[in-house]
Symmetry: C2
Subunit: 396 residues, 2 copies
């Protein structure tokens, strides 16, 4: 994706910052405490809710330089920097968040919180149900994208921020970034929606459903009550493998794996993993089941399936008409999980209702995953969009 003449030219204009935000300390917010529990889309109430979040950069005295970064399906609040000096890995979007980077922490105050229903510090099905003293498991209510956004708004309230300079997210987080200015038009000035959709396609619902089926049919799942026992790791592994293929493009899989065999060039005539692509899936799945809760996978994929601006507001057009934010929308040419036609659908609705919108369908071989990678064109446009927003909203 990098290295062609055009991107080199842009890089000369916008030298990517190499700085790190350094050591970041996660914080927990306790909110939605009874009797002020959160009223969920399903009609139930939930609370108290703990929200794990991290911030980097400095909130301006006027509190007008805050950007909410939202993580995708299996992410967490740890968006940039390290928790400890010895950490080998940085936060999940360190490539774009830091001093001099597109989400420039010398200028912006960055907030990222783990989503409701997740398993990385925010209340979810693995959390203790205060009314039983045991993990919620399936007693946890089914939550929606709108519920996730409502909890993020509590973090923003807690930080005393009236209006976000921007929200940004890709995939499931792109749905949330899209929902934000529709739910809270006065609370966000700009929304960057990456590789997302106003509603999930039936094919994507099907992949989610098969992943859930694999978890639900794992004997260790035990109707969700597996905490403290053997985990439904095989079901979750299958779900993750399916996910990984949908995140990659067919052409990238050819480039990355081809038909290479892991051990030499002779077939083993057995059912062990032989092709490189099989080893890749095995490895990704085994890493994932160590860090992610299977029940959270059920809840978060269900929230994706349910998200549907058209069903909720009458039409995508009626939905985006509620927003006052300026939009920046990205799709990727080889993304087949959230195909470009879905971004065009929302962009056309935005245009027809007079919203301010910039749209880029970026050429890449990387498929859906492109938004997490070193992607100079993507980063350059985000940088420029935010700089203009900053000039307009903060410097003015």
């Amino acid at each position: 994706m990098s290295g062609n003449a055009q991107s080199e030219q842009f890089e000369a204009d916008f030298t990517p910052g190499s700085g790190s935000v350094g050591i970041v300390t996660p914080q927990d917010l306790l909110c939605a405490q009874p009797p002020n529990r959160l009223k969920l889309s399903c009609g139930k109430e939930l609370g108290p809710i703990t929200v794990r979040y991290e911030t980097v950069g400095t909130l301006s005295p006027k509190k007008d330089n805050a950007i909410l970064v939202i993580h995708a399906l299996t992410g967490d609040a740890h968006v940039a920097g390290r928790h400890a000096p010895e950490d080998r890995k940085t936060g999940w979007w360190d490539i774009i968040v830091g001093p001099g980077k597109p989400l420039d922490t010398d200028r912006y105050f960055i907030i990222c919180s783990n989503c409701l229903g997740g398993c990385m510090g925010t209340t979810g099905p693995a959390s203790t149900n205060p009314s039983t003293g045991k993990p919620y498991a399936l007693e946890f209510p089914v939550v929606t994208v709108e519920d996730m956004v409502a909890v993020q708004r509590m973090v923003v309230d807690h930080l005393g921020i009236d209006r976000l300079l921007a929200v940004i997210g890709g995939s499931l987080a792109g749905m949330q970034a899209l929902a934000w200015p529709i739910l809270y038009p006065q609370r966000v000035a700009n929304a960057i929606v990456v590789a997302a959709a106003a509603r999930l396609s039936p094919q994507a619902i099907a992949w989610n459903a098969i992943g859930r089926n694999a978890i639900l049919s794992d004997p260790n799942w035990r109707n969700g009550d597996y905490y403290g026992q053997a985990l439904p790791a095989t079901g979750l592994a299958i779900a993750r493998m399916i996910g990984h293929i949908t995140y990659l493009s067919e052409v990238k899989m050819r480039q990355k794996f081809g038909r290479e065999l892991r051990n030499g060039d002779a077939f083993k005539y057995d059912f062990i993993s032989e092709f490189e692509v099989e080893s890749y899936l095995d490895y990704q799945a085994s890493r994932f089941v160590e860090r992610f809760d299977a029940n959270s996978y059920l809840y978060l994929t269900k929230a994706m399936d349910y998200f549907d601006l058209a069903a909720q507001y009458g039409s995508v057009r009626d939905a985006v008409a509620r927003a006052a934010a300026r939009f920046l929308v990205f799709s990727f040419t080889t993304d087949w999980l959230f195909p470009s036609w879905q971004s065009r659908e929302m962009v056309n609705a935005m245009i027809s209702t007079g919203r301010q919108v910039t749209y880029a369908n970026l050429p890449t071989d990387h498929g859906h995953d492109a938004f997490l990678l070193d992607f100079p064109e993507l980063h350059r446009i985000i940088r420029g969009f935010l700089s203009e927003a900053y000039r307009r909203e903060v410097k003015a």
Copy 2:
């Protein structure tokens, strides 16, 4: 797919026959009997082998009107007609095989056999291992596309046919139809290769691998020794669901299911199947596990993964250069399991080695499954190609 002016015009020229071949009786051939066991690609020998096959139409006195129809992954020898008058369903390709139909049984003698490793009458992992008196299970050797073709050749030999007028197949069967004239150049005059490839793509390998993983990790699978006990139905169901999505195009899923809910328009906020597409997958999977053996699924998908003309012969070009047959190759614009570029790869290799080849990349919304459906353009071209072959090879 039907109903436009162009296809109506062609239908006027080539009225599809509505005739049925009537009642068909399956036959079993016992072959590869010791000491003449079949030498397999893996180096092992297998025998005796029972082959379930059916024939329709009449073999000409010169035995020059025979067409071998090959079934895809989960098919069987029952290609056309009914086994009994009360059968509700006809054979799997009845739409194209019968009196007056493109594979006109008034003219051609049609042969279809269940493939080696299958579970529909031909020897496979569920068959009794004569050396133990128990099902082979994983003692069954891993077989290849080439081994399947070798067993089909035994049927052709048994019927006294020196040279097939044509072989035809789609998907895994298209691989076999492609392998036939390369393995036995003098034994087949024409090969019709539908929605297939000279080698499976890494993405398609990955889908197969995940399906196998689901089966292998089903506790009921018991290292393959589940016969007479509870079946690994949940693993096989997951595999089948994955398969079904790959057989459909994204656009067809939109047309077919949209985001419709099964029961009314209100979300249930539960993990039951709610969307129509989920019900479809549940239904397809539950039907499939009743009729198909999970071990056969392992063996047949492995054969798909292994098929690689380039690896076996040096290049696709070197492979097809061995063939003397005329080729008819089809791909479908929305087939993402066997994308058109794979067909173009083989067609270009055929052209560059001077093979006779006709290629059609047919527009359709139906994805990979198109070859099994009512597809007038496909059927018209097959009819024309076979009529010419008949004039050239039989009438001459």
